[in-house]
């Protein structure tokens, strides 16, 4: 069953009508071609109007679409020789984070990715892509290996946040994220982070400190979920739409604030409409960034990384 997003309803209604008319025309003598073509051009205009003026809340819905491609979908499209590597060597393997080595355009790379499930069972296994400390520690282990073998790191972000749980706290969720930020500061290899779905706060940043941070056009990246912000600020989770807009969580907003470096366009209607086309868009951006960063010497890379984060604004003297 297809999931219809609320803002897409008029499009689907019109599509249904056109389909109905076509069916009628096929089974009768009625001359409906003119009517059908009139409606089809209306559909085109409607799609253009809707998809070119998406609100923040529309994008939140696209980013959360159950059919939205996951990290493993993109890994399958973009990389070759992918070898998944498991475990943090300390406690256990965290299925919310997928990590491994692969080739990108023939060059060995390290991949770290947050992985949503495709269905309920899969989601339970993946813990809805909310990592535990061991996930961040597995990621750190991969980063250290990447540095040792001089492999660029490609990080795919897609999480509602780090898991808020008992075991996670007992094992130092805060420390695990902080340790990654500390170590990513001066890793001597390029780090490219791409937000492919939802970027949930510290849980996203824990694998997201990067030389280039990119976002898919309809992805979101926020310090708190719109629902969470609304319930804390206005004691009303129903004001999530207002909170989403105020928090400035879209790719466009974050590019303007210099928090991300690139916006990767999405196929019309969202990435879930066409995985291979979407992967091709992503590939184009990734490749040019990848080639650019690989040419930069290690010390300049680290200096640029520090300057990028240290120069972020929001204050005055």
């Amino acid at each position: 069953m297809r999931q219809v997003l609320s803002f897409e309803k008029p499009i689907h209604e019109l599509k249904d009508k056109i389909a109905e008319l076509k069916k009628m025309a096929a089974g009768s003598e009625l001359e409906l071609d003119a009517e059908i073509s009139r409606m089809e051009s209306r559909l085109k205009k409607l799609e253009l109007d809707i998809y070119h003026s998406l609100t923040t809340w529309d994008r939140v819905q696209i980013a959360r679409h159950p059919d939205r491609p996951t990290a493993l979908d993109y890994i399958g499209e973009l990389f070759t020789s992918f070898v998944e590597l498991h475990g943090d060597r300390l406690y256990r393997d965290d299925p919310a984070i997928v990590s491994g080595i692969a080739k990108y355009k023939g060059v060995p790379v390290t991949i770290i990715a947050q992985q949503r499930g495709k269905n309920t069972k899969d989601n339970l296994f993946r813990n809805f892509a909310s990592p535990h400390p061991e996930g961040y520690r597995k990621a750190l282990r991969q980063m250290k290996l990447a540095e040792k073998f001089n492999r660029p790191i490609i990080s795919l972000i897609d999480t509602k946040g780090a898991h808020p749980g008992k075991g996670a706290e007992e094992r130092g969720q805060g420390e695990a994220i902080a340790r990654n930020l500390l170590e990513m500061t001066d890793l001597t290899v390029p780090i490219i982070a791409i937000v492919i779905g939802e970027g949930g706060s510290g849980g996203a940043l824990g694998i997201g400190l990067a030389d280039s941070v990119q976002m898919l056009e309809n992805a979101t990246y926020s310090v708190i979920s719109p629902e969470g912000a609304a319930s804390i600020l206005w004691k009303d989770a129903a004001l999530a739409e207002k909170a989403a807009t105020s928090l400035k969580i879209t790719a466009k907003d974050l590019k303007a604030l210099k928090i991300i470096d690139e916006i990767i366009p999405e196929v019309k209607g969202g990435a879930h409409r066409d995985l291979s086309m979407q992967a091709a868009y992503l590939d184009a951006y990734l490749e040019s960034t990848f080639n650019r960063l690989r040419k930069i010497d290690k010390q300049t890379l680290i200096d640029n990384r520090w300057n990028k984060y240290n120069n972020l604004g929001g204050f005055t003297e």
């Binding site: 808020p164 008992k166 805060g174 930020l181 500061t185 940043l205 400035k248 240290n310 929001g314 204050f315």
Partner: protein
């Protein structure tokens, strides 16, 4: 009188002084322990550094109270005190909240930083003040912490951070989240040059502060019973659908789980900091 009134349970509130007692104690000269309700003269309260002599509860200190309790008299030189938020997102009601917290606290934001001596040992000091927006970390807090670490790096000073925070400054959105990166990166640069970072966890230290500079110091001390954790108790309880134990995320819990080195009574803190600073200065002179 209704039945409801007759059977109404007597609430176990702290005793309110009688009219006569109120007359005897001039207003503003007493403080009440928020935990056991015992009342103290303000002077004793100050001498006790806001630790209740009866039940041991460590009450929250303001930034300048903390500085007074920690550094040598008149040794504190404040840094970067003019930094203020630009409200970069133009977030609804944020300016008003900042203005009202500034009036309430006399602070420009939640972090006070500077240089001081502690029993003669020089150090850079950062204190987070929960009276200002729950000491949430926005661009100003992040900038002050990063600048302090950078200044201390070039001036070869150890850094002591008294952490406290409700988490990220929501009204600054993603710029607030990026302060986790900025402060952690500054810790790494400081650490790479041999700098010594002492973090003192005070009540409460949570969210993005726990998930950044607070958790990656060289030494982690914590005040008794201080709440220290990443996710909030309520969120965790909602997620796992069970009630968490009373001591969950306390300083003692974090000691047991290996996240802090020692739990230290406030009255012993200055001595401990002095000892650690001394141990580090000895290393420098001998090498």
């Amino acid at each position: 009188m209704s039945l409801k009134t007759i059977f109404k349970k007597k609430k176990k509130y702290a005793q309110i002084p009688t009219e006569k007692a109120k007359q005897e104690i001039p207003e503003g000269l007493v403080e009440k322990c928020k935990h056991c309700g015992k009342i103290y003269y303000e002077k004793e309260w100050r001498q006790q550094l806001k630790v209740c002599p009866n039940c041991g509860t460590h009450h929250i200190m303001s930034a300048y109270e903390r500085i007074d309790a920690t550094v040598d008299d008149d040794s504190f030189e404040e840094w970067f005190e003019t930094l203020i938020s630009t409200d970069p997102l133009e977030f609804p009601d944020y300016q008003e909240k900042l203005v009202s917290d500034r009036e309430k606290t006399g602070l420009k934001d939640a972090v006070v930083a500077g240089r001081a001596t502690i029993n003669g040992y020089s150090a850079a000091i950062v204190v987070m003040d929960t009276r200002f927006r729950m000491a949430s970390m926005g661009a100003v807090a992040g900038e002050k912490i990063a600048r302090t670490l950078e200044t201390a790096r070039t001036e070869l000073l150890p850094v002591i951070i008294f952490t406290a925070s409700g988490g990220a400054r929501m009204q600054e959105g993603m710029l607030s989240l990026m302060q986790m990166a900025k402060t952690s990166m500054a810790v790494k640069r400081f650490s790479n040059s041999g700098g010594c970072l002492i973090n003192v966890f005070t009540h409460p230290t949570t969210g993005g502060v726990t998930a950044s500079f607070a958790s990656i110091g060289d030494y982690h001390f914590a005040e008794p019973k201080a709440l220290i954790g990443f996710a909030g108790r309520r969120i965790i309880e909602q997620t796992i659908r069970e009630t968490l134990p009373e001591d969950f995320q306390t300083a003692e819990f974090q000691l047991e789980h290996g996240q802090v080195d020692r739990v230290v009574h406030r009255h012993e803190l200055k001595n401990l900091l002095t000892t650690v600073l001394d141990l580090h200065s000895a290393e420098v002179t001998e090498s």
